[in-house]
Amino acid sequence: MNAVGSMSPAPPETGTPATRPTSGGLQLRGLVKRFGDFTAVDHVDLEIPPGGFFALLGPSGCGKTTALRMIAGLEFPTEGRIFLGGQDITGVKPHRRPVNTVFQSYALFPHMSVIDNVAFGLRRRKVHDARAKASQVLELVELSHLADRRPQQLSGGQQQRVALARAIVNEPEVLLLDEPLGALDMKLRRQMQLELSRIQREVGLTFIHVTHDQDEAMTMADIVAVMNEGRIEQLGPPEELYDQPETVFVANFLGKSNLIEAEVLGEDGPWLTIAAGSAQARLLSDRCVSRQGRLLVGIRPEKIAIAPVGSDDEGRHGTFADRDGEVWNTLAGGVVSAMTYTGVSTEYQVEVPGIGSVEVFAQNLAGDVLAIGDRVSLRWRAKYTFGLAGDEPISAGAEVEPG
């Protein structure tokens, strides 16, 4: 899969000031980084527009941190080039790049007070009134009262905010965040997610956030790039990635997906008809990566409605249209094989003959929870179905250990 992110039209010509973006736009072109035999980043092309919140999401070892370090100038790419605001910065030393990083370990200077840490970058660039500017940013992250403390006297969350203040005070064209919330506990992480989003909106800098946490990427970023084995699998707004994944990896890594092996039978207007085992189903051909041959057909567990056999659509099989013209896919003859009750919803495993195990998330609206062994039928709006290439390993991205 060679997904090329194209968020904005073709890159402007370099060197001509008239066409150069006024700020921020970052481009990676054919970026490769090898460590010996290992290829950490494998031909990544990316265009990140200025002023947005961008997330690089992927499991550990997918190359996201290496990509980030190349943007910061801490690693030199084996191949490819990096442009910032239209200028080639590939060979520019890190201390000359208008880029700052919030390190995963925070990397605060232990021998300096909080305010001196924050003012460090300003002082190196001989900015006038460094201390006053640093104080302002400390106010933004609500740490003014701790300005004279040493970093090791602060809690993890406070250190995290000092690291953030130390980076944004420089008003870099791009702010890099390397798993900045990884060391925080769940509650603090949620709080910092909101705070980071607020600060990004307030300062209007380009944020590039590296994370393995899909919730974090989805809740914070405007655009998410999913990385796997050094490549970008898919890029887009979080809703789009979730709603219409283009690879098995994305379908499994971002939330959960039921993937069923199927064969295309034919095309009918916008619809493709497919066969999976004894069942037939429909999906929109523009939500499918190919229009013939073998496919992996996917549906998200919460899109499936589960009903005990005996209700109105008993016995119906395959595809039907309801009174409003909505097209539904149905799987009949399922048996609940496992269930997990979580209060707000129930997660069911349903064994469907000829199909296999299907996962269903049902909201507990009425409170009548099904039991193991109950016979059920499943149905979902056909328009939510998506189709992926049939030759991909069906569990890619599903068993990845996050981190």
Partner: protein, 295 residues
């Protein structure tokens, strides 16, 4: 907690003190007591009509003014030599420690090899090593030959029996005491802080000055103390590599006052002056440059 439990608890806490008792006893017997004996001896007066080396207990404070008037030059010279030695050892030792601890981080083999080379001098005797320097610096040796060939030394000049030779010998002999503490300190330096420095617009030199060096100050402090203190009292380098005229150090005077002139009160007074002077200098130094973590 009941009274009995509390007593049991504090008894366990006090157990550790018993382990330091042997050390205290040893130091009391072989350090504190001799210092007191030395202090007493420094105030002894000659036995009237007695022979050489015959002294009796007294409170002869003039011993101190006498030695200070007679030997203030070698005393000052000792501190000057020790200072130059310390600075030279720092300038040589820091880059070596930095190379091994920071630049070669992860290269275990190269690190181990260089560490062995740093410690290697300890495998040969101190006196033998100093004697070897005499040969290295001799008139027909490699160093003098090379310097003369490059016209960096006038034809008739020598290196042996000069202040340069004494300081060079001391620098060499005390170099591991400088390098090892700095290495131990830099080895623990978080390399990510160096990256953070470069990310925050500091050039490599600025990063070194603002981040690496301040963080390695405890190592520098330990290294300079471990070099300066023995260098100030050194007499082996001075007597083997010096000329006994304008390179004489206070250690040599103490040695000759004691063993040759048998003037025990003067030798003791000088030793005590040296001890107090080093103590005052070190305390001033640590107060100025010391970190809270070290004290």
């Amino acid at each position: 907690m009941s009274t009995a439990e509390r007593r049991q608890h504090s008894r366990q806490g006090r157990l550790g003190y018993w382990f330091v008792l042997p050390g205290f006893a040893f130091l009391a017997l072989f350090f504190a007591l001799p210092v007191l004996v030395m202090l007493a001896t420094s105030l002894f007066a000659p036995v009237p009509g007695g022979g050489v080396g015959a002294f009796q207990p007294a409170l002869e404070f003039s011993n101190y003014t006498e030695v200070l008037v007679l030997y203030w030059v070698p005393l000052l010279r000792s501190f000057a030599f020790a200072l130059i030695t310390t600075v030279a050892a720092l300038l040589i030792g820091y880059p070596i420690a930095y190379l091994v601890a920071v630049r070669l981080r992860g290269h275990r083999l190269a690190q181990g090899l260089l560490l062995v080379l740093i410690i290697a001098p300890f495998f040969a005797s101190f006196i033998l090593r100093t004697q070897a320097w005499k040969i290295i610096l001799s008139d027909d040796g490699l160093v003098v030959g090379a310097l003369k060939a490059l016209s960096l030394m006038p034809p008739g000049a020598h290196l042996t029996a000069t202040a340069v030779a004494v300081v060079a010998g001391m620098t060499y002999n005390f170099l591991p005491f400088m390098t090892l503490p700095i290495f131990a300190n830099l080895e623990r330096l978080d390399a990510r802080l160096i990256e953070a420095g470069s990310d925050l617009y500091a050039s490599p030199w600025e990063t070194f000055r603002k981040v690496t060096l301040p963080l390695s100050m405890p190592g520098v402090l330990a290294g300079t103390l471990l070099t300066f203190i023995p260098a100030a009292g050194d007499y082996i380098n001075a007597s083997l590599l010096g000329n006994n005229r304008n390179t004489t150090m206070i250690g040599q005077i103490i040695e000759s006052r004691f063993f040759q002139a048998a003037d025990y009160p003067q030798a003791a007074a000088l030793a005590f002056v040296l001890m107090v002077a080093i103590l005052i200098l070190v305390m001033a130094y640590v107060r100025r440059f010391g970190t809270k973590e070290l004290l």
